[in-house]
Amino acid sequence: DVKVTQSSRYLVKRTGEKVFLECVQDMDHENMFWYRQDPGLGLRLIYFSYDVKMKEKGDIPEGYSVSREKKERFSLILESASTNQTSMYLCASSDQGATNEKLFFGSGTQLSVL
């Protein structure tokens, strides 16, 4: 089974801290994604990556950055955490190709910024 692992299930940080959310997938997928999930808003795409060292902005990239130094790892960075970034963060990966349009999700990281 494809596994997408997010390093932390729960995180509590203080305003202004730099926060790293890590995601690792074990299926050699080219594509990786970061979403945030908020009640009433569904999932919103923050950033995605089609390849190593490559990144693209999603719908809500402000306040975030990403890093993809290795194919299996995609990190989301909050340079200076703010309370409005309190949310559930979901990482996902997918294989390239029209017949493999399926996202595999991690279990999520619930981030609270105080």
Binding site: R44, L90, A98, K102, L103, G108
Partner: protein
């Protein structure tokens, strides 16, 4: 712009009753359409997907969905709901096979005995 609309925020059904969750999309060409389910404390799991061909698609856990181009809809159905189906359900669309998934706001399903 919102590409996927799920008009029902929350639905409650009795165990054994039938279920239909609504999803409408706005997109010129035929999109790739998906339904995902999220159980409490879990990530999202794919229930089914539609790319082309037969407009009625079967998924896991007894779910099915029907693509209706004329109504721009992709509603999810199940003939008899089980208590374990209580979860959040998300409709999603991918545009132009670009691997950019856009999700609806979700429908929360409660199943009562």
């Amino acid at each position: 712009a919102q590409s996927v609309t799920q008009p029902d925020i929350h639905i409650t059904v009795s165990e054994g009753a039938s279920l239909e969750l609504r999803c409408n999309y706005s997109y010129g060409a035929t999109p790739y359409l998906f339904w995902y389910v999220q159980s409490p404390g879990q990530g999202l799991q794919l229930l089914l997907k539609y790319f082309s061909g037969d407009t009625l698609v079967q998924g896991i856990k007894g779910f099915e969905a029907e693509f209706k181009r004329s109504q721009s809809s992709f509603n999810l159905r199940k003939p008899s709901v089980h208590w374990s189906d209580a979860a959040e359900y998300f409709c999603a669309v991918v545009r132009n096979t670009g691997n950019q998934f856009y999700f609806g706001t979700g429908t929360s399903l409660t199943v009562i005995p």
